[in-house]
Symmetry: C2
Subunit: 411 residues, 2 copies
């Protein structure tokens, strides 16, 4: 008998029919002899509806109260899913974040999990119940309700799996697993059977939308093996786990892309101004702009060019934030911007032991006549910017160059 | 500075506009120098909507899960009302049933309050916050959510007032207070300035819809003085408190009526069958039929007639429940039924010291040519059944006979 923690997102429980469908999936696992803990999001649309309601009362609704309001969405879906299980004759109880013992800290609307006290869940499991837990929520030590922000239900599921020492945590979603690239862009993209935490993290941070980084980080920290799989069929998904030596046989695990990128360059900074980097980054951080690639170089005239990529929607705010400090940085300093960029990354822990990955990537792009803009690298990732108009083609040629359509055959 | 606990029902917070209106009422009390704890129901219609949702998943939704689902209604309204107070610049926080420390026991969907641990509420009050508490809900010692059934928010308010030793508990509703009779029936009905717990209880049990009996009982038990008043204006309402000697000056405090009554009579029971009453009452209790008046008499032939009143909608179930036991009771025993009845009661603690109350009531009805059916009396109440078609006129003549339109002038 395995203890399986599953997470169902808002789309999976988005209608009464879908709730019945999820109930059947859970029943199937139980009939196969497993214990099941299902972590559930709010029905799709419900959270947005509650936020709209809050905004109809107040232009700037208080975050503490938003948490009280939003957390009702998951509370409703756990009750309904539990009722649907009863209809099938399955013994099941709903469990709120507070009842799951999920203790949180940090800011409202983006709480963080401090600890889990799973004694009530263990009691019900021992009594033979399936547990239907509210994702996305917990309470502080004082019992004040916290929501966990975007991707919070994934985090709840992984944390509960860790606390209950589950055999596996399944993240049920609308895709079959993690692919070598987005299959809508690269038709020959292949579903990966497995991927390491670190690769999953780099995929997430470079545009793969399957999961938020922090859930993967949490799983890595507590050694929770999880599987990303579809809630629409019963195909095996992608297992995410600690890296094992055999995984290094593959240089590149996947290709991820991100659209709507912009570049901001602060040009002509005198190199003698040693604090320029700190000043620029502080200003942008205060404006709450998420920078991604950061590249700096000294030109032949001794002046520094520092460039960043960011989401296009942040471009205006970044320019406004930088303007007041240009003079401080140097009399000739100016801002250059470029919108309409895309980012393409190759990710793989095998890069550490394989040489020539960057060369293969750049040659493939050159052969397709695609110009590379900025370049940045980490130990297991190489990222370049290209014109957004050729991003899909860039993904196709790079995917092909690394034989990723054959990856599962190679293993 | 007074500590005022207020309860606002679902109609009072039934729309965004009304929520803003309630926020203004609370702000007004705070500006007058009071501390305020407002206990709030779900927005009108929300609870019914949630119950309908549950029934779309399951024909017989589980009560534990219904509680989880329904309690979200109040949780939403407290968040929204708190946001509305913030818009007015009032420091306020929302408090769920669990956070209010309302510890419950008993059945789901009709939980009972065991105790209140108000330390979190006291902490927030000390910090100068107005508290917006979810009515109708609490949690068991295990943290399992309970709702308190019909009138549960009134009960929450009175229990919180008791726990916080509030100066007054105001039950805000859509009527101005407790009237000598329903003003829609008796135009000259007068709002009472005060009424004793016992009178309020008898009024509630005999058809006055202002409050549920158990909230009044709870208030009596813990000595919570409360006021029933309108949420639509600022008029003083009716204060409900322990009886004081001066209240006995009035024989009758009010007249209450109840429609849609039916009578069931089990006739021709041999008087030698000593267990008949227990047998009949057990059968009806098992069918979950609420009996009201119970009258029994022995006819000249030595056969017993036992009659009950009940709500008309229970009549069919009562007949079905009694049928199988008729033979047990005696060979000649049969059931007679009469629908289309109304009940009229006069209530007053002054009855204990005033004689002739029944005579005055019956004479008034006789003068109006209204026939009396069953009669039952308690220490402070006399109830009779009449044809429902003449119920309103019966109320008018009895109200007039006791000079109730002048009651406040007499005090």
């Amino acid at each position: 008998m395995s203890l399986i923690v599953q997470k169902y997102g808002g789309t999976s429980v988005g209608s009464i029919d879908r709730i019945h469908n999820v109930a059947q999936r859970i029943q199937r696992l139980i009939l196969e002899g497993n214990q099941v803990v299902a972590v559930v999001s709010a029905m799709s649309g419900v959270t947005d509806g509650l936020i709209a309601l809050a905004h109809s009362v107040s232009e700037t609704p208080n975050d503490r109260e938003l948490d009280v309001l939003m957390s009702t969405g998951e509370q409703q879906s756990i009750a309904l899913l539990t009722m649907a299980l009863h209809e099938l004759g399955v013994r099941a109880v709903s469990i709120t974040g507070a009842q799951a013992g999920i203790c949180t800290f940090g800011s409202h609307t983006r709480g963080r999990i401090k600890s889990i006290e799973p004694s009530l869940m263990k009691k019900y499991l021992k009594e033979g119940y399936a547990l239907i837990c509210a994702g996305f929520q917990g309470v502080t030590e004082d019992g004040i309700i916290h929501t966990l922000g975007r991707g919070g239900s994934d985090l709840s599921a992984i944390a509960i799996a860790a606390a209950l020492k589950a055999d596996i945590c399944q993240i049920l979603t609308d895709v079959d697993g993690v692919y070598t690239c987005d299959p809508r862009v690269v038709k020959s993209a292949v579903k990966l059977n497995e991927i390491s935490y670190d690769e999953m993290l780099e995929m997430a941070s470079s545009g793969s939308k399957v999961m938020q980084s922090r859930s993967v980080e949490f799983a890595k920290k507590f050694g929770v093996v999880f599987e990303v799989r579809s809630s629409l069929n019963h195909n095996p998904g992608t297992i995410v786990h600690e890296e094992i030596p055999s995984m290094e046989a593959i240089a590149v695990r996947g290709v991820s892309i991100e659209r709507n990128q912009a570049r901001v360059t602060v040009a002509n900074i005198p190199a003698c101004n040693s604090s320029y980097a700190a000043r620029i980054l502080t200003v942008l951080a205060e404006a709450e702009i998420n920078l991604d690639m950061i590249v700096s170089n000294v030109a032949h005239d001794g002046l520094v060019r520092q460039s960043f990529t960011m989401h296009m929607s942040d471009l205006g705010r970044a320019q406004a934030a930088l303007k007041p400090v240009l003079k401080e940085l140097g009399p000739e300093t100016r801002i250059e911007t470029e919108a309409g960029l895309g980012k393409i990354s190759v990710v793989g822990i095998g890069m550490r032991s394989h040489t020539g990955v960057a060369a293969t990537m750049f040659q493939a792009l050159a052969d397709a006549d695609i110009k590379i803009g900025m370049i940045s690298t980490s130990e297991i990732k190489i990222t370049v910017t290209v014109d957004e108009l050729v991003l899909d083609r860039a993904a196709q040629v790079v995917h092909h160059a690394f034989h990723l359509d054959e990856i599962n055959r190679l293993l």
